[in-house]
Assembly symmetry: C2
Homo-oligomer: 601 residues x 2
C-alpha cells in the first residue's frame, strides 16, 4: 500500500467547537471582531399569541396534547415556543425558526420542540402525532442554511429536534471505510473523531459549511468537494421510522445479524432509500456513510479567467475533463463577486448605491485583491501521489490556458485567510465555515439559494447566467453566481444575500427567485433543492404528464401517512387533509402577503 | 485532452448477431462444433391443457380476455403459448419459459406473450390486465439466465415481451457520455452502434454475458467489470408505467423540455427510481444510462494462488486496494473449477464418478492447463495511459506476490480462446458470452446461482467458502465458487450447473440452494439477487423487526397495484389477493413437490 505520501498543504487546526458548531458562530464578541455573521439586537415582539397552534386544532386540545407528550418524553425534553427572542436568538434559541428567514421571522415557526433520545422515542412521538393529528417536522440539527434552517413548512408544527440528543457516531469501521451516524453528528464532529482515533486513512467529505448534520445534508442531497462529494450516492443503509410508527431498516440492515449494512447499499428487492430523501415519507434515525480513502497526497489549484463570456469555452473544456476524472472533484467556477463577498467585508466598503453593484466596481475591487482582476475563478483539487497529480495537472493547465487571459494563481501570493485556503481545506475533507462570511455583505445578512440543474455546456451556462443577471438587475440585487459541476451536470448556485430586517429587499429577493424559477423552468432547467417557501413552486415545475410524478408522490404519501402528520408540504407534497390549501399553512398570522407562487406566497 | 493512447490489447471483432443475440447461440450447428450451450431434442409432450390459465380465472373468461387484447394490440402481437416445444425451443420459442428451469419446464410458464411497441401500448395492456384481473409479467429480453430467464413467477401470467419491438436506442449523447434505451437494447447492440458511429471515446460496461438487455440487467441490479460496473448506480432517469396505468418520468424527466434527464439522476423531491429495481411496482419502458469515458489505455492481468486457504490473506490484500481504487474494476477471484469448466468441455472428460468432483482431479486438470495448477485465479484490469497503469500494477504485484506461491500469468503463454481473453474483453467493455461455456459441463446443461453478500474479509470469505463446499459435498454437486468484489463488499457467486432432464439432480440442486440460503442467513449473509423460485425464501431472510421491510413493501404494493396484476410474487412481494398463498401459484399442475421454502417449493 502506498497511501503514505504527506499532504502538500498543512492541515490547519480545527476551530474550537461547542456541541458540533464552531464557537466562531456562537461567540458574538469574536464574530463582531471577525466581522462575520454578526449578532443583532432583536426587539422583544408581541408574542402573546404563542405558542402558535397548527390549523384545525383547538388551542386547548393542543396544549393538552403537549402535556400528554411531556408525560411520555419527560418535561425537560419538550420545549414550548413561547419565549422572547433575545439578542442572538438564532444561535441560542431552540430550533424553532429559520435563522435566515425570507418571510417575517414569526411566520414559519414551530409551536414546540421535542428532543427524543432513541428511535423508540421517535416512534412514540409519531404515534402521539397520529393520535392527536398534530403535524410534526423532523430536523437533524436545523442548519439547512439557505433552504429553511430549522423551520417547519407548516406553521405551528411540533419540531422533532433529533440531533440534540441523538448525536452519536454509532460505528466507525476502519477496514471497510464506513461509519454509522445519528442525526446530530456534524461533519466537524466526525472529522474530529477520525483525527482523535488516528484514522488518517479515512476522510469525511464536507460541504461548504461543516457545522451541519451529515445525515441531514445527505437526505437533502447536499454535495461536497472531494471525489465523495455526491453524499447521497455515498450513503449505505438507513433506519427509518415510518409516519405510522413502524421502524424499518433498508438494504442489508433488514437482515438480522448482518455485517454489511454500511458496505452494500442495495440489499434485496426494491431499493427504497431514495424515498426518504427530500421527502416526508419517513424519519431517518440512523444512516450509514462511506468514507473516502486518503488518496496519498493532494494539491489545490486556482485559475482565473478575465471575461464574462469566458464562461462558455471554459465549460466546454471542463465537461470532458470532469467526466474523464482528470478533474477529480466537483468543479467550481465562481464569479468574482462571490470571492469579494467571501472576504467578509460589507458591501458599503465597495459601493453605496442602490441597485445591483456595477461590474466596474467589482473589477476595481478585484484588481486590488491578491488574485488580481478577473471575472471567474476556478477552484480545484488534484489527488494522489505527486507524479500522478502531475499528470492530471499538466492536462488541466494546458486546457485552461487555451482561454486568452487565463492565469494560474500561485497560492504563495495569497494571504493566509484567503478564500482559496478555505476551498483547499474543504476539498481535502476538512470542515470549514469561511464561506459564511459573505452574509456580512449586508447588515443582518442572510442568504437564500436558487439552484437550477443544467448540462455542462457553453450554451446552457450562458443562458442561465444571462437569466440570473437580467433578473438581479431588474430587482436591484447583487448577483453572486457560482457553477458547481457534479459529473455530467452542473448546478448554478445563486445565493441572494439579504437583510433580514429589510422587508422591501426581502420581497425583491422573493420576487427575483420566483421569476428565476419560472423562467428557468420555461427553458428546461429545474432546481435540485430549494427553500421551504419555494417548494410548491419548484415542485410544480416538475409537471411532465399532467403532474404525474406529484400524483405518484401523493399516492405514496396517502398510503404511508394516512393522517398526514409528517412534515406536510415538504418538497411540495401535501397529505390529503391539507391538499389544495397548502398556502394557508403559512398565512394564519396574516404576516405574508399573497403572491403568485403555487402556494400563494 | 489525452484520451488517445492506443489500447494494449487488440479489440476483437464482434460475433455476428441476430436481433441482438449472438448467432453463436442461435446457430445449433456452430454451437455443436464449439461444444457450447448445445441444443437438444425435446420430445413433444402432452400440452393439451395449454394455454395454462392463471388461478382464479375461468378458462373461457381468460380466452375472451385474450381476444380483447388481440383486438387492441393486433392479432399478430399476441401469441398464445399452446405450441409444441421443438428441438432447441429455448432459442426459438417465444419467451414463455425459463430456458434453464430448475423445476419441470412446464411449471413456471406464461399463458400468452404480448409484444407492445410503445409506452402507450404498455399502458393499454396494464389497463386491460386491471379490467380482467389477469397477472402480467414484464420482461425486457428474457435472458435473465440463472435467475429465471423469461419465466413469470405466477404460472399462467401473460408475459409482456417489451424487448421484441421496443428495442431502440433513443439517444446517444457523445458530449455527456449518456444514452437512453428501450428494454430490447442489448449490451451487444449498444456496443455495435457505438462502434458504427465511431464513438471510440465511450464504452458500455457489460456483464458476464453480453446478449441480455441493458435495462433488464440494470433493474435487476446486475453488475459488470469496468469502473462503471454498478449498473444501477450508473443509470439516470426512468420512464415507468405504473400498475394502474399512469406514466411517470423520474428525475429530471419530470421537467418538461429538460435536457438533463440522462445527466442528473435525482431531480427534485423523493428519488423514487430504486422502487422500480428488483420490484413489481412498475414497468420501466425507457432508461437513461451513463457511458464510461475511454480511459486512454487498458491492460489485463491475471494472478494464480495455490492453496484454498490463500483466499483469506488475498481478501485482506484486495480490500484496501479495491476501496483505494488501485484495483479499479470489480475484483474477481475465481476457483479453478470454474476455469476448467469455462473451457467448455464436459465433466466426463475429467471425471466419471458421482458426488462432487474431487479436488485432486481439478488440480490434475489445472496442472495441464496453460495457467498451471492453482486453486484461485484473480482476473483484473488496469486503466489509463501506460505510466499511470504501471504505478497501480506495481502496487498490485508487490501485494499479491506476498502470498507464497502466487504467480503472475503471462498472457502470451495462453491460447487465443483461453477464458483469460474473455475476461479481458469484458473488462474493456466488449460484450462476450464465453462464460456460458461452462453449461456444457453436464448434458442439457443449465445453471442457477447462489449470491450472498459479505464484507471483503478473510473470515467471511472462508466461512462462505466452507459453507458452500460442505453443502455441495453433502448433495454431491460440483462446486464452482467465484468471489466478485464490488467496492466495500463482495458477492460469492456459486453457479450450480445441472442437467435440465435429470429430476433427481435438479432436486439436489434445489435442496443445496435452500440449505445454503438458510445457513448463510443464520451467519448474517443475504442474497443480492435470486432465481424466481427462491425469491420468497430469500425475502424471508430480510426479516429484521418482525419482517418490517416486507410489510412496508406490501403496503406500497397495495397502494400502487390494488388489483395485484403486476408480476405477483416478484422479489417475494405478493399483492393482497395472493398474499399468504404464493406457493399455490406454482403448483397448479402438481409438478412441484412440496418443500420447505417460504413458498412451499
Amino acid at each position: 500500500m502506498s497511501f503514505a505520501e504527506e499532504a502538500t498543504t498543512d492541515v490547519p487546526t480545527l476551530p474550537e467547537t461547542h456541541s458540533g458548531i464552531p464557537v466562531y458562530l456562537l461567540d458574538k464578541a469574536r464574530n463582531a471582531k471577525a466581522g462575520v455573521f454578526d449578532g443583532r439586537t432583536k426587539p422583544i415582539r408581541d408574542r402573546q399569541r404563542l405558542p402558535v397552534v397548527p390549523q384545525g386544532i383547538e388551542r386547548d386540545d393542543f396544549l393538552a396534547a403537549l402535556e400528554d407528550l411531556k408525560a411520555k418524553m419527560g418535561h425537560e425534553f419538550v420545549e414550548i415556543n413561547d419565549k422572547a427572542l433575545k439578542d442572538g436568538w438564532y444561535m441560542e434559541h431552540p430550533n424553532t425558526h429559520d435563522m435566515m428567514t425570507i418571510l417575517d421571522e414569526e411566520e414559519l415557526v414551530a409551536s414546540a420542540v421535542v428532543y427524543p433520545s432513541t428511535t423508540e422515542e421517535v416512534q412514540q412521538i409519531v404515534l402521539w402525532a397520529n393520535k392527536h393529528r398534530i403535524p410534526i417536522f423532523p430536523i437533524s440539527m436545523g442548519r439547512n442554511l439557505g433552504y429553511g434552517g430549522a423551520a417547519p413548512r407548516v406553521r405551528g408544527s411540533v419540531t422533532l429536534d433529533l440531533g440534540k440528543r441523538m448525536n452519536k457516531i454509532l460505528d466507525i469501521n476502519p477496514e471497510d471505510y464506513t461509519c454509522l451516524v445519528e442525526p446530530g453528528v456534524s461533519f466537524y464532529a466526525l472529522h474530529e473523531v477520525l483525527k482523535e482515533k488516528g484514522y488518517d486513512h479515512m476522510w469525511v467529505d464536507t460541504p461548504d459549511l461543516g457545522g451541519g448534520s451529515i445525515l441531514g445534508n445527505t437526505l437533502d442531497r447536499g454535495v461536497g468537494y472531494t471525489p465523495y462529494g455526491d453524499h447521497w450516492a455515498c450513503h449505505s443503509g438507513l433506519e427509518v421510522v415510518l409516519p405510522t410508527g413502524e421502524i424499518i431498516r433498508t438494504g442489508m440492515g433488514a437482515l438480522p445479524g448482518n455485517n454489511t449494512w454500511q458496505a452494500f447499499p442495495y440489499g434485496f428487492g426494491p431499493y427504497s432509500d431514495g424515498l426518504f430523501s427530500q421527502s416526508n415519507f419517513g424519519i431517518v434515525t440512523k444512516m450509514g456513510m462511506t468514507l473516502m480513502p486518503n488518496p496519498g497526497g493532494y494539491e489545490s489549484f486556482m485559475y482565473t479567467f478575465q471575461k464574462e463570456e469566458d464562461l462558455g469555452p471554459l465549460m466546454e473544456i471542463i465537461r470532458p475533463l470532469r467526466i474523464g476524472m482528470i478533474l477529480e472533484n466537483v468543479a467550481q467556477v465562481r464569479h468574482v463577486a462571490q470571492g469579494i463577498a467571501a472576504q467578509g467585508l460589507p458591501r458599503s466598503k465597495f459601493y453605496q448605491g442602490s441597485g445591483s453593484i456595477p461590474d466596474e466596481v467589482l473589477h476595481t475591487a478585484a484588481a486590488e485583491s491578491p488574485a488580481g482582476d478577473h471575472t471567474w475563478a476556478y477552484y480545484g483539487m488534484s489527488y494522489g501521489p505527486s507524479h500522478i497529480r502531475a499528470y492530471k495537472l499538466a492536462i488541466v493547465d494546458a486546457e485552461f490556458l487555451k482561454i486568452p487571459g487565463a492565469k494560474k494563481v500561485d497560492p504563495s501570493t495569497l494571504p493566509a485567510d484567503d478564500y482559496y485556503f478555505s476551498r483547499d481545506r474543504i476539498a481535502a475533507g476538512i470542515p470549514d465555515i469561511h464561506e459564511l462570511r459573505w452574509v456580512n455583505w449586508t447588515p443582518n445578512g442572510a442568504h437564500i439559494a436558487f439552484s437550477p440543474v443544467s448540462p455542462i455546456r457553453s450554451a446552457d451556462a450562458m443562458k442561465l447566467f444571462g437569466l440570473g443577471k437580467k433578473l438581479h438587475q431588474q430587482y436591484g440585487i447583487d448577483f453572486f453566481p457560482a457553477f458547481i459541476v457534479g459529473l455530467r451536470e452542473m448546478h448554478l448556485i445563486v445565493e441572494i444575500v439579504f437583510d433580514r430586517d429589510d422587508t422591501e429587499r426581502k420581497q425583491a429577493a422573493m420576487d427575483c427567485l420566483r421569476d428565476m424559477i419560472d423562467q428557468a423552468a420555461a427553458l428546461g432547467y429545474g432546481e435540485y433543492r430549494t427553500h421551504l417557501v419555494l417548494m410548491d413552486q419548484v415542485a410544480s415545475t416538475y409537471s411532465w404528464g399532467d403532474g404525474a410524478l406529484m400524483k405518484f408522490n401523493e399516492r405514496l404519501k396517502d398510503a404511508l401517512d394516512p393522517n398526514g402528520i409528517l412534515a406536510p408540504g415538504k418538497s411540495g407534497i401535501w397529505p390529503k387533509r391539507y391538499r389544495g390549501r397548502g398556502w394557508e399553512m403559512t398565512r394564519e398570522s396574516g404576516l405574508v402577503s399573497e403572491g403568485k407562487g403555487a402556494d400563494g406566497l
